[in-house]
Chain length 385, copies 2
């Protein structure tokens, strides 16, 4: 009934717009030819407002986790003390990276499904060593669909410590507001395959002057992910130290066109509407959500499953409706599924996923809630047209 | 809110699947090289079940109207008598073509929005000259969303006359059953840009042995559309007399793959479900339809407009929801709009267009019918999963 169509609602990778695919199909250029520095400078600069950065954004040919590692590996030296806010699987990953690098990691564990409050961070910092190298936070915790109050956490960090404030923005940058200077973020990282509407394969690292200084003096050994190579290569000849993923950067150039045409304020607003449509629609049919409205991410929504294991629901949505969702990770495995609604996603896409959930409830439970989530979602859309 | 997305629900051209686009991007080949005859023979043969034809289907590099003209111009000589069943703009066009060719055209006018009954044709044939060269009928009258009962009309034609029975299948072949032999069709024509999921640019003419004989002996002058050239060129070396639209034929090859993968029975069934979803959904919110369920086409639905002129509704659907519909043509201009639901169209697409109509009613009339058409359409879908 659906031909070859497949609908990608994973919380990344996300659908790639046709015009981005076309842009990536431009003829290959040599990255040591004069064309490439022009392209890199343009894209690095046009991404500044998206990252709320005062400086061009560094682009690596690697995926999101490498950006997390680069952010940590370029500042942490053996036996450094760091705090990692852990409210889900990706906070946990940030901690593992820091541990691998030989740091003493102080884990601020937050209940999965909730955001870290500024008070929690303040209490934690007061009861832990003062000579911290860095505080690591996750903007959107993909595994739970929670956004942490980055601005407030940044202010607490700077008020109480001299630590760098390092933020994982992988599953939300491109869909949310951010201001590195005002929010006190020293390093902000992201990947290409989420709200930035690109295939996987690019990592982005935005660095402020304070962090640049720390990176310059950091004695830890690294090579491909040494940000000094990238920063000086960019400074000297607007290039990259190693072979860049040229096609993906052409794609990023087209994404910049799309952001600017829509207006980045409108991009952010669209994601708020998508989030509200999903949440209000699901509430209307009494599907329980993992997070509160306040803590909820505009890019991914975690749905609790009660009677049916999430694996069966996911399988049915895939088999009958060709819809790919995310499952639960680590301690939430089997207890939730996750709907990605970021990047190249419109209100029509939300209607699609809600209709499929309505019909899945009919198939699994025999309960007819068809049209109810859709009605509520349409109302939300209409309030925002 | 919808980024660059555009949703094409015109009754042709229709959306082209990605895999068809990819197929059309294959390297160009010379049509006098050995590769082309293989391609042409394969596609002409694989289209036989789609056209219900006993012979390979002739492929012209031109659009649908040329197929209508070819069907007429290759059999009609000056002063021939023909009957044309006219139940809408495309029946009317068939008559104009026949008149241009110098025929005496006997117009069987049927109320627009209704199908021609076998009894109507029988009465008409009994009261008109017996030495008819051809009876022309339209399978799906695109302008009204009506399907004529071709099988019954074919049988009446053959019972009462020696005329050829010539059928315009432009806006439905690829979505409906057809059997030229059993239904007594001598010539069946179609175009690429409707249910066949291709861009415009190909015309298809399926011809049986009786028609072939008439075409061979026809003395009317023609060149590009002379089917004798095509039939003999195919017979002699599986080629075309003039330059073929190679890329579109590669596309048609991929469409054959898609039809065979889905199963052509399932393709036909899918269109029935799409039709029923559209009609039942619109009825649930009291939007009046032009045609009865029995006469309605599985490929296009005509919707009456009451309070608002169709132009305003169409404009709103385009401006707010990026949805392109068809308007009314000729005497139905301003009184209807038309929803195409054929080819690369799924139940999710029907939900999209119904949601947009629900929201448009809210915007234009303030009436909240949101979710109601969708609920009914989902129910129809569920009955057919």
């Amino acid at each position: 009934m659906l031909l070859d169509q497949q609908y990608l609602f994973a919380p990344g990778p996300t659908p790639v717009p046709d015009r981005v695919k076309h842009a990536m199909n431009q003829p290959m250029i040599a990255h040591r030819s004069p064309e490439f520095p022009k392209l890199l400078e343009e894209v690095s600069t046009r991404l500044m407002p998206v990252f709320g950065s005062q400086h061009p954004v560094t682009i690596l040919a690697s995926s999101g986790t490498s950006a997390l590692e680069a952010a940590a590996a370029n500042v942490i030296e053996e036996n450094d003390h760091v705090v990692v806010i852990i409210a889900g699987a990706f906070g946990d990953r940030f901690a593992s990276i820091c541990e691998t690098l030989g740091a003493h990691v102080h884990r601020l564990n937050v209940e999965w499904g909730k955001a870290c409050t500024p008070e929690q961070l303040e209490d934690f910092l007061r009861s832990n060593p003062k000579n911290l190298k860095a505080v690591f936070a996750t903007y959107c915790e993909t595994s739970t669909g929670v956004v942490n109050p980055i601005r407030e956490l940044g202010h607490v960090t700077k008020r109480l410590t001299d630590a760098l404030f390092i933020v994982d923005g992988v599953s939300c940058i491109g869909a949310v507001p951010v201001d590195m200077k005002e929010w006190k973020i020293d390093i902000l990282v992201s990947g290409s395959q989420k709200a930035l509407m690109l295939p996987p394969g690019l990592a982005f690292v935005a660095v402020n002057d304070t962090a640049k200084e720390v990176i310059r003096n950091c004695k830890a050994k690294r090579f491909y992910l040494d940000l000094n190579h990238y920063l000086s290569s960019y400074e000297n000849d607007k290039s990259t130290p190693f072979t860049p993923a040229v096609s993906l950067i052409y794609g990023a150039q087209e994404v910049c066109n799309m952001f600017e045409e829509e207006g980045f304020e409108n991009v952010i607003n669209r994601h708020q509407v998508l989030k509200t449509m999903v949440r209000e629609g699901l509430k209307a049919i009494e599907v329980p959500l993992l997070t509160s409205d306040e803590d909820a991410s505009p890019t991914v929504t975690a749905v609790r499953t009660i009677d049916e294991p999430s694996k069966q629901i996911k399988k049915l949505l895939k088999d009958k409706f060709a819809i790919t969702l995310g499952g639960g990770q680590k301690k939430l495995k089997g207890e939730i599924f996750r709907i990605g609604h970021m990047g190249y996603c419109t209100p029509f896409d939300v209607l699609k996923v809600l209709a499929s959930i309505e019909m899945t409830i009919k198939i699994l439970e025999g309960k007819n809630v068809m049209g109810i989530a859709l009605k509520r979602a349409e109302e939300v859309w209409m309030e925002n047209v």
